[in-house]
Symmetry: C2
Subunit: 366 residues, 2 copies
Amino acid sequence: MGNRLHTFTLRMNEKKKKVSIYDIAAVLGVSGSTVSRALQNHPAISEKVREQVRKTAREMNYKPNALAVNLKRGYSKTIGVVVPYINRNFFSSAIEGIEEVANRMGYDVLICQSNELYEKEQKILHSLSQGKVDGVIASIAYGTRDYSHYNNLAEDRIPLVLFDRVSDEVKAGMVRGNDYQGAYRVVRYLLSTGRKRIFHCAGFQHVSVWRDRYRGYWDALQAYGITPEADWVRIGGVTRDAGVAFAREILQGKALPDAVFVASDFVALGILLELMRNGVKVPEEVAIFGYANESFDELITPSLSSVDQFSKQMGQAAARMLIGKLNGEHPEDVLIEPELILRDSTRAQGSDFSMNLTDITHEGKL
Amino acid sequence: MGNRLHTFTLRMNEKKKKVSIYDIAAVLGVSGSTVSRALQNHPAISEKVREQVRKTAREMNYKPNALAVNLKRGYSKTIGVVVPYINRNFFSSAIEGIEEVANRMGYDVLICQSNELYEKEQKILHSLSQGKVDGVIASIAYGTRDYSHYNNLAEDRIPLVLFDRVSDEVKAGMVRGNDYQGAYRVVRYLLSTGRKRIFHCAGFQHVSVWRDRYRGYWDALQAYGITPEADWVRIGGVTRDAGVAFAREILQGKALPDAVFVASDFVALGILLELMRNGVKVPEEVAIFGYANESFDELITPSLSSVDQFSKQMGQAAARMLIGKLNGEHPEDVLIEPELILRDSTRAQGSDFSMNLTDITHEGKL
DNA sequence: TACATTTGGGCAACCGATTGCATACATTTA
DNA sequence: TAAATGTATGCAATCGGTTGCCCAAATGTA
């Protein structure tokens, strides 16, 4: 047998082919079925043969061809994840949560980034729906306004779970943060510290999370009898540069705001730096409150108050939901309550303002 | 024909099966081969049939099964990428570079993270080598000390390119930054600003990049007639916490260093914050120089001097190299020269120290 | 010894494509 | 009109596994 193995090895080097069950079968003089069954611990195969097969497989460095297995089985035990960017803290920790649950349940995770581009998102989904994954977890790119590529997944029987950036136009399971509440509470907190003239820097309104945050902001102000003026709100992209641009607008306005509630930490960063570069004191003159609790928030000076969305838990919930769907269940949508993280950029001014807000995390509890 | 299509649709809903070329063939009354060829624009198929097939395929929402295609073709046009973490700026921009080149060349990219764990890395490579990818680009986890899982890829004819974290024990193409030079120049710069007592916080020495940085540090000091004492160097993990721990050691030592050259920005962050928390002035008393130019470097106060490794270019080079290998070429290894980014954490003290170092980038040139 | 079971393993179809070769028909040429 | 091309399509093998069904040998039972 050692001899046959040797012969085989030589052939290997010539033909540069991978080892299949039939190669093992040939060496052992059995059929492919037997090898397949032996490797699966099928009871119909005797202990003796089973051991021989396993041993030979090991010696020949056999690895099952996942493509063949998946093709035959009809599923791949793989979950596709589509996010705008993988290097946003929010998304990378969501992915962490997804991987954790998925791996535990025996699934692989295939990560893709859309770069916020509709076309790339489309391509990715198209590629994933060619049998590569059993289901998809996604957070919609903001370049996306037509959702048919998402809805098409259903035609291919690929279950879909959206998290964070969801849309009612898509039929899918959803895991969302309570962005409305988060925003509402941010504004209420700012009001409680005596800030009244509260601006808002929003993201594009076709995106659920930014629309909800805007609504929360609006309703909170209304609830306290304040109606925002037209120039209090700016809608735009969620980049640092957009923040810089908004800061400049603010500086050119007739009066500084007391506070700015920003729908994204990256925008908040741009605003904060640009305001300070122009001599505006944060938080003394203007308080700034971001959203997403990016990792840089606590590193900048002043540290940036923000809203933690429990991104890892969101990822876990999304993975659980998708796997539930794959098992034929009908899991309910998940809504995760966010938590305010208070830092220096919203430090209260002057005399101790006594608050009565029990739902707020104080600095350090991060 | 509309009728046949309708019948088919009904069957679809019942059986919940995806559309194959044979379904199209059945509707049109032709063979599977014809459909396959028509979809590939094979010249042997008449214009008329070709159009019919394409039209029907579109109507039936046909998507080729990637598993079947790849199984048959023997390759997948997919590149596997394995990195320790996707949310490190360094790695995510390397991935950006990889994707850019790969997509342009018609390859998909499958991203995996090892979390610095040997076991997970092993699992990932094992899974990738089951026919899922044509080649692998990786940066070795620091939990890895045995490299057979990498070398095993060769047995499966899967070309491998390592970037950043490489190893001589692995037979693979390599794209590296010139870490030795980077470190050497950092230390030379620090010396040029009058700092002599320069500590070094290194990463585990079985990892190429950290070993090289240590060597560069050592040689630079030697070249200037300085021999580091035993407690000048600490070898350990590359987390923020490790930095905090080192800072505490420093604080308990007999004398503060003039500067600390840190092999990782995350460690440098920990050191910087902990030193400052204990009243040490940075850079007045101690200068700190990091490595990797993470995005938070410019955001903290004082901003952190660091070494930019051109991670995106590294990714591009790695992808080019891998695709070259896939095309049967034998690309040469790539060494990328890093660039020093000077920020406030190493601001020179007292009188203007006139430097004669032309290879240094000055603040703002980032 | 004869028959019924159990055990171990092979045959062949199948998953969804691709492709070399054969074939049927149409067209051109001698 | 028969033979030689050309054109359009189908058959069947193949990629590397999995699995229902069938059969031969071994074992059990009377």
